[in-house]
Amino acid sequence: MITLSHYLIVSGMMFALGLAGVIARRNILIIYMCLEMMLSAANLTLVAFSRFRVTDGLPDYAAQSLVFFTITVAAAEVAVGLAIIVALYRAKQSVETESVTKLQG
């Protein structure tokens, strides 16, 4: 039988994967994809809590509204982020994090 913990563990593992990708990879595009993965892992947690916290016989729709907002913000973030990546590529001809050292002390 599937319990709340199952969903939370899957979500936690997905978040950990995203975290590993953000730290280990150099390609900014892949770092961005891993950020999306971490956001989705958080969404899974919210939906799982929403379903298991039954109020008046219905799932808790406040949590699912939060997921809706997260998805919207993530979509806006992707659009702006990709524009920044394109601008970066124009300036540096590369999307590797190591080619961006301007802010390094």
Partner: protein, 191 residues
């Protein structure tokens, strides 16, 4: 949902997620992420969140991934060939991820899981129908159907109407920002 489907879709989500992190070619990563999101959408559906599951497919697996692929193709990013991965970063990333996953797994499995099974959290649609505010929602609930999108819309517009407008403004600002960012400055030659 039968347990086997849960495990199948979890494996799909996590397996393709691993491929996103490990693939050398960005196109492989992007397509794996799309597949991973499809698995995640199935998990949402298994939690009776039909609207969110559909949005996940439409927005993430559809729009966002197309945007990613478009940029990858546009910039013509090749696979990292011959380049050695940054070893300290890889080791650090794997260690941190394993630690985090272990922590979460330990905490989650120490729950008293008897009280949180789907079986013990049944949706009482017919009873909810007696209290429902709108006739269409009440009729759906009395018929034993979960009107997910309707309830979602009711919550969004009734409880979070202002927040919804703020999000609309955010999208507008984002659109304007993208236009400004990608506009070529006058006099600056494209490198």
């Amino acid at each position: 949902m039968p347990s086997i489907l849960f495990y199948f879709f979890s494996a799909m989500t996590l397996g393709f997620g691993l491929l996103v992190v490990t693939a050398r070619n960005p196109v492989t990563s992007a397509l794996s992420l799309a597949a991973s999101f499809v698995g995640l959408a199935a998990l949402f559906l298994s939690l009776d969140a039909y609207f969110i599951g559909t949005i996940q497919i439409l927005v993430y697996a559809g729009a966002v991934m197309v945007l990613f692929l478009f940029i990858i193709m546009l910039l013509d990013i090749k696979a990292e060939e011959g380049k050695k991965p940054n070893l300290p970063a890889v080791i650090g990333g794997i260690t941190l991820a394993v630690l985090l996953a272990l922590q979460i797994t330990t905490i989650c499995s120490s729950f008293d899981s008897a009280g949180v099974q789907l079986k013990n959290a049944p949706l009482a649609l017919t009873q909810a129908g007696e209290k429902a505010e709108l006739p269409t929602i009440a009729n759906d609930l009395k018929a034993g159907v979960l009107p997910d999108a309707k309830l979602m819309g009711l919550t969004l517009f009734q409880k979070y109407g202002f927040h919804l407008q703020v999000v609309g403004l955010l999208l507008l600002v984002g659109t304007v920002g993208v236009v400004v960012l990608s506009k070529r400055e006058k006099g600056v030659k494209d490198a």
